[in-house]
Each structure stands twice: as structure tokens, then as C-alpha cells.
Amino acid sequence: MSLYRDLGVVLRTYKLGEADRIVVLLTAGHGKVRAVAKGVRRAKSRLGGRLEPLSHLQLLMYEGRELDIVSQAEVVEPWRALHEDLACLAGGMAMAEAAEQVAQEGEASGPLYRMLVGALRAMAHRPGPLVVAGFYWKLLCLDGAAPVLHQCASCGAGPPAARLVAFDIAEGGALCQGCRRGQPISPAALELLRMVVGGQLGRALELPASHTTNEVAALATISMERHLERRLRSLRTLERA
């Protein structure tokens, strides 16, 4: 068995046996890793509370046959808001859930890891209405589903000839009057979406909550779910809350 070091974020955990846990990590160098944290549910565990979901860690791991074993873990940045504010916690979990679906085991995913860390950091320090949505749009781009926003994704007609009035990620992005499917989209939301996807995410994140940010956030969830072909449970559960 060999040891390796890596940085990682805990995406989710499962109970295992009496006092152990399986943790699913998104690491910088090893992609998605499933590892056993032994004895972590005991009060006096040396690993302590570090392996809770959404923790950002420096890890020392044993390579196992099926599951790796967490040998040591050190917190890189403590994000207390993610544990102490329900909205931040919900947003963080929603991002972790999507990241877990996109990440592959045994496939290094530096950009995905950096994106998630950035998004969680934003969530912990200056949560805005678009943090989760911004992460989802960037995740779609990273996963090869960048939406077409400057012309109709179906027929290629663009403004000023055709107005873009709808959005469907399955069709590839924004759609004109003639090809419209999926969700309707307002001009303001389309403009904001161009900002988010087109390299001005930082500015978009500063915006206060409005109809437009709500529209873009709702569209992000629908698109992410369409792309993953499954429901994102975190969002629905805490929306009800």
C-alpha cells in the first residue's frame, strides 16, 4: 500500500459500521476519491470534525484496493458560515451534490476542484443570490455543455433579425421565437446569463437579489438537472424547509 498527499473537499459522507464513515472527496490531483475514515464518529477521533461535508482539507491517504483510507487530515480554510447559516449550508450542499455527479473517479480534475473551492469560499464569505447558479453554469461549461447565448442554438438566427425568447439546455442554449422550447427567458436574464458565462462572474455575484437573478438561478437548476439527467435533491429538500 502506498501513501499519497492531496488537497480535497468533502462532498458527502456515508456511515459505515459502528464508528467509521465513507467520505467522498473531490481532490485536486486524484479526481473523485472514495475513502474510509476509521473511527471518525467517536468523540475522541484524531480526525475529529474535519471530515464533515464541505470541509476543505489537506489529506494524507493510504491507497487501498477498493477504498482508500484517510490517514491524516488538516483543515485548509475553516468555513464556519457553512455550518452556522442554513442558507449557506443549503447552497454548499447543493453545489457539492452537483460536483459529485460531474466528477469521475480516478480522473484528475484540477479545474473542477478549484471551481468548487472558489464557490464554497464565496458562499462562506459573501453569499449572494447567484453563488450556486454561477457555480452550476460554470460547471455546465466545464462539462462540455456551455450554453449558446448570442444566437439561436437551433437555427443559428441571431439578433437583430430574431429575438431570443426561450432557453433549453438540451437544445444547446437560447432559442428564437420560431424554435422556442423549454423555459421562456427575459432579455434581462439573458444579458445576466451572458455576464455569468462570459467571464464577468465576479461582477454578477455582486448583484443584489432581483427577479432577474431569481430567473437565472431557477434556469441554472433546471439546466443542471437536465444535463445530469437526475434531480438535485439538496435544493428541493431545503426549499421546502
Binding site: G48, R50, P53, D85, L86, A96, E97, T237, L238
Partner: protein, 201 residues
């Protein structure tokens, strides 16, 4: 391989949590070798527990009797009804009872909010908790869910609901375990322990 009834016993034991086929075999043969009286007592205990035990109608702890019965803690008149301790599982009630520090009553949620598993507040005994506050004259609700992400989410959610009621809401402290080492404490725990420090007279 084995006689049918032995194999059946091994299979049944193997379905228990944490018991693999080898352990099941070992336990099965232990039972076969032990006196008939011991085996009968074990069988009787399992049947009795399964038929007699239900959930307490008030706090959803385990209780003994017909459906609708209340548990020993809820029926104990010496208990202080103004303090209500909210926990996730009946096992947590036992853990707190062992400390001998709490004389109030309990409310067992039977789980915790877990966004990623799709477990929301409506799958827990939340409505029943809210109904008890007024009915029993509760003055303080102590949120004793586990100090992990699901427990924290549950506590935060309950706190946001209870804020509108005339009741004091407290969260159990988190900090360093007795007998532990400071240097091995994680940042979150140590941070909370520092925040919750108290003055020594």
C-alpha cells in the same frame, strides 16, 4: 452443507448489521452448543421486544405497551416539563440520561435533515414538536442534534421555526472532549470551544 435449520439460522443472523457470513456461523454454533434454556430466552426476548415496543405517543422515544402509550420519561411526574431536549434518535436519549445532568423531557425527531439524501423536515417529527411547546408549557428547547452537518442543519432549521414562539431556544455546546488533546482538535471544534468559553469564578 449444513442441516437446513442450521443454515437458515446462519442466514438470518447474517442479515444483522455488522455481521458477516463467518460471524453468523460462529454465533449460530455458539447458540447450538449453549443450553436450550439460553436459546429459548434469547428467542423470547426478541419476540417480546418486537411485540411490546412501540413509539411513545408524545416524544417518539421507544416505549413499551400498546400503540398510543407514553414512555417512562413522559409519564414520570418528577420530570421538569419546562425544559425540552430535542434529539435525533432514541439512543441519544439514553446517552443524555447517562450524564444525569438533565431532568426535563425529550423529543425524538427520528432522524435529521439530510439534503443530499432528500430527507427534509416533513419526514421528521417536527410538527409534533411544535404542538408540544404550547400544550406542555415548555420554556426552553435544547437542540441536541449531532454536531455534524445534518445535525447542524436540523438545529438551524428548528431554531428558525421556534424563533416565532415564546420559548428560549438553546443549542448544545460543542467543544473539546474530556481527556482529549488540544493539538488534535480540529479548527471548527476548537473555534467553537473558544467561542463558548466560560468565566471561572
Amino acid at each position: 452443507m449444513y442441516a437446513a435449520s442450521v443454515q437458515e439460522l446462519i442466514d438470518e443472523l447474517g442479515r444483522l448489521p455488522g455481521i458477516g457470513p463467518k460471524s453468523a456461523q460462529r454465533i449460530a454454533f455458539y447458540i447450538l452448543k449453549s443450553p436450550a434454556e439460553d436459546a429459548r430466552r434469547l428467542a423470547a426476548c426478541i419476540t417480546a421486544a418486537k411485540t411490546k415496543v412501540t413509539w411513545c405517543a408524545r416524544c417518539f422515544n421507544v416505549a413499551e405497551g400498546e400503540a398510543g402509550v407514553e414512555c417512562e420519561i413522559c409519564t414520570d411526574p418528577r420530570r421538569d416539563s419546562s425544559a425540552l431536549c430535542v434529539v435525533e434518535e432514541p439512543r441519544d436519549v439514553v446517552a443524555i440520561e447517562k450524564t444525569g445532568e438533565f431532568r426535563g423531557r425529550y423529543h425524538v425527531l427520528q432522524g435529521a435533515i439530510s439534503p443530499i439524501d432528500g430527507i427534509g423536515p416533513d419526514q421528521l417529527r417536527v410538527r409534533e414538536l411544535l404542538a408540544r411547546i404550547d400544550a406542555e408549557g415548555v420554556k426552553e428547547v435544547i437542540l441536541c442534534t449531532n454536531p455534524n452537518i445534518e445535525g447542524d442543519a436540523t438545529a438551524l432549521y428548528l431554531a428558525s421555526l421556534l424563533k416565532h414562539l415564546p420559548v428560549k431556544v438553546t443549542r448544545i455546546a460543542s467543544g473539546l472532549p474530556v481527556g482529549g488533546d488540544l493539538e488534535y482538535a480540529d479548527e471548527l471544534t476548537l473555534g467553537r470551544a473558544l467561542e463558548g468559553r466560560r468565566e471561572l469564578a
